[in-house]
């Protein structure tokens, strides 16, 4: 099995994002970035499949500006065999939609005959939760989203436990398939120093949108990005009886 793992470079999860005064986007300059945490989980699961001899090769893919190479190096240090960087400039990247990323991934998956596309369930910047499902739709492959457990069933199927609203669901999908990782699937490993050194020698294949015949025409336009309305703190109450009284006054109890 050959696995294509999509990795996105996002503002680090520990950073409190700020909206730009001109309301066009959020502040990204001089802000720490890292690999989307859900993509890290997808990558870790792919590496586990390889360690269990179910996967032969893992290729990490990222679409974005030159800086995306950093996270591709991280992916290589964590166990990807090689990487593909679809490079676009900053201005172009601003307008890229999950739709376009999914088209690129679908094209690669088809052209290079991958058996499995593995992504995070959502990126923590746009919180869109679309890319995996879009890839599956473009390829007409089965999908197992929000995976919290992945087991192989022979060489042709995967059994996947999914996190759904009311609990858990188990499905079987036939390969080739698209999977998206949920939080509880695994705990990603850290890259070790020797692996970071080794990763420097692994290949990163650069591609352009043209190489993949990718049309980046926008279907959406961001009109404004604003701060959410802030919720005002209320008051401290002294004890339980006061709390109950106040809640009753407000009609909340």
């Amino acid at each position: 099995m050959r696995v294509l793992v999509g990795v996105k470079r996002v503002i680090d999860f520990a950073v409190k994002v700020r909206v730009k005064p001109d309301k066009t986007s959020v502040v990204t300059d001089n802000v720490p970035h890292s690999m989307n945490p859900f993509d890290e989980i997808a990558l870790e699961e792919a590496v586990k499949l390889k360690e269990a001899n179910h996967a032969k090769e893992i290729v990490a893919f990222s679409l974005g500006p030159a800086k995306n190479q950093e996270i591709l190096r991280t992916a290589l240090a964590k166990g990807a065999d090689k990487a593909i960087h679809l490079e676009v400039d900053d201005a172009t990247y601003q307008k890229v939609e999950p739709f376009h990323v999914a088209q690129a991934i679908a094209k690669l998956a088809k052209d290079e005959k991958f058996d499995l596309v593995f992504l995070g369930k959502q990126a923590i910047d746009d919180d869109a939760n679309q890319t995996g499902q879009l890839v599956a739709g473009f390829l007409n492959w089965p999908q197992a989203t929000f995976a919290s457990k992945v087991e192989t069933e022979g060489t042709s199927h995967l059994k996947v436990t999914r996190e759904i609203d009311g609990g858990l669901e188990t499905i079987k999908v036939k390969l080739p398939a698209v999977l998206t990782a949920d939080l509880r699937l695994n705990e990603p490993r850290y890259a070790t120093l020797p692996n970071i050194m080794k990763a420097k020698k692994k290949p990163i294949d650069k591609k352009t949108p043209k190489d993949l015949g990718l049309d980046l025409t926008s279907q959406t336009e961001v009109l404004e990005v604003s701060e959410p309305p802030t919720r005002k703190g209320g008051e401290f109450v002294e004890d339980v009886p006061t709390l109950v009284k106040k809640l009753k006054e407000k009609g909340a109890l």
Binding site: R162, L183, Q219, E221, K250, A252, L253
Partner: protein, 315 residues
């Protein structure tokens, strides 16, 4: 202009999120709203759907292969319906069902979907949160068909009665049943209301210290007729299952009353509950961020305060 709402149901009952999606559909300004009910033995659900206020048509797909509503199968039906009716908008709730399905349909229609919509400004302009709710984006869609998932917490439920939609068979779709198969489901069983529809939610964090200690929350919840939620920290610590998680990576809720107990108020948790009408926070650390968004804060030891509160409500 016409809109399709994809019903969420369990073959017996229409899910409340469908009613929220109908409200969002109404805000698009189209009077021609259809509901697609795809499942197995769904006549009851279809009847329910026909009665929803403002519904013109109920498209019914009743088949064994749709029993578990796998996205691959429902997707093909939505696409077939779209080819016949040429809707301008297709909506579903932002739930695990809608989230799985809508982008897949979008790919088949070559459309960029807009997910997690919290406000409809016009037929083509929508508002959605990003960065765990720390930024709000207003987005205009130029797509020929708008595909949306909408958050139940942002749209009131449409009236369940008053409509008289006319039933119609869904067009034939070539459904491929080979590629995916339903194996089983393990749904959390509880007599309490579920998080998404509960009027009151009692929610616990890491300060509960163990799964056993969650019992004091269940006792309080049962007194209040409330649902019980948890922070990601509590889920990660193994105190409760993930389907109780509220936050950016869990469920988004907006009850009338939210009681956060032993929860510090990490951004990722607040993203999932800050639209609650009244927020109460109980925590022993008076500097923790949850107090900044709480209407009422009580500083104290939760193991003392919570049983006291349960007792006070009994009276």
């Amino acid at each position: 202009k016409s809109t399709l709402v994809i019903a969420e149901h369990n073959n017996e009952k229409l899910g409340p999120i469908t009613l929220s999606a109908v409200t969002a559909a109404k805000k698009l300004g189209n009077d021609d709203i259809s509901i697609l009910v795809a499942g197995s033995n769904v006549s009851k659900v279809a009847e329910e759907a026909a009665k929803v206020a403002n519904i013109k048509r109920v498209i019914i797909a009743d088949s064994d292969v749709l029993k578990t509503q796998l996205p691959e199968r429902v997707c093909d039906l939505v696409v077939a319906s779209q080819n016949q009716f040429k809707f301008t908008h297709i909506l579903a709730g932002a739930t695990s069902f809608g989230r799985s399905l809508v982008p897949r349909v979008a790919a088949k229609l070559s459309v960029s979907p807009i997910t997690e919509v919290i406000a409809v400004q016009s037929e083509d302009t929508f508002v959605r949160p990003t960065y765990a709710g720390n930024a709000i984006s207003k987005i205009k869609s130029k797509a020929p068909v708008k595909l949306l998932t909408v958050r139940g917490t942002a749209f009131e439920q449409a009236a369940a009665t008053g409509g008289s939609g006319k039933g119609e068979q869904a067009p034939k779709a070539d459904i491929n049943t080979d590629v995916s198969e339903f194996v089983g489901q393990e749904l959390s069983k509880s007599d309490r209301p579920d998080l998404q529809s509960a009027k009151i939610i009692v929610s616990g964090g890491r300060a509960l210290k163990s799964a056993d200690n969650f019992k004091i929350l269940y006792d309080l919840a049962d007194k209040l007729g409330a649902a019980v939620g948890a922070s990601r920290a509590a889920v990660d610590a193994g105190y409760c299952p993930n389907d109780m998680q509220i936050g950016q990576t869990g469920k988004i809720v907006a009850p009338e009353l939210y009681i956060a107990i032993g929860i510090s108020g990490a951004i990722q948790h607040v993203a999932g509950m800050k639209d609650s009408k009244v927020i109460v926070a109980i925590n022993k650390d008076k500097d923790c961020p949850i107090f900044q968004i709480a209407d009422f804060g009580l500083v104290g030891d939760l193991f003392k305060v919570v049983p006291e509160l349960t007792e006070a409500i009994k009276k």
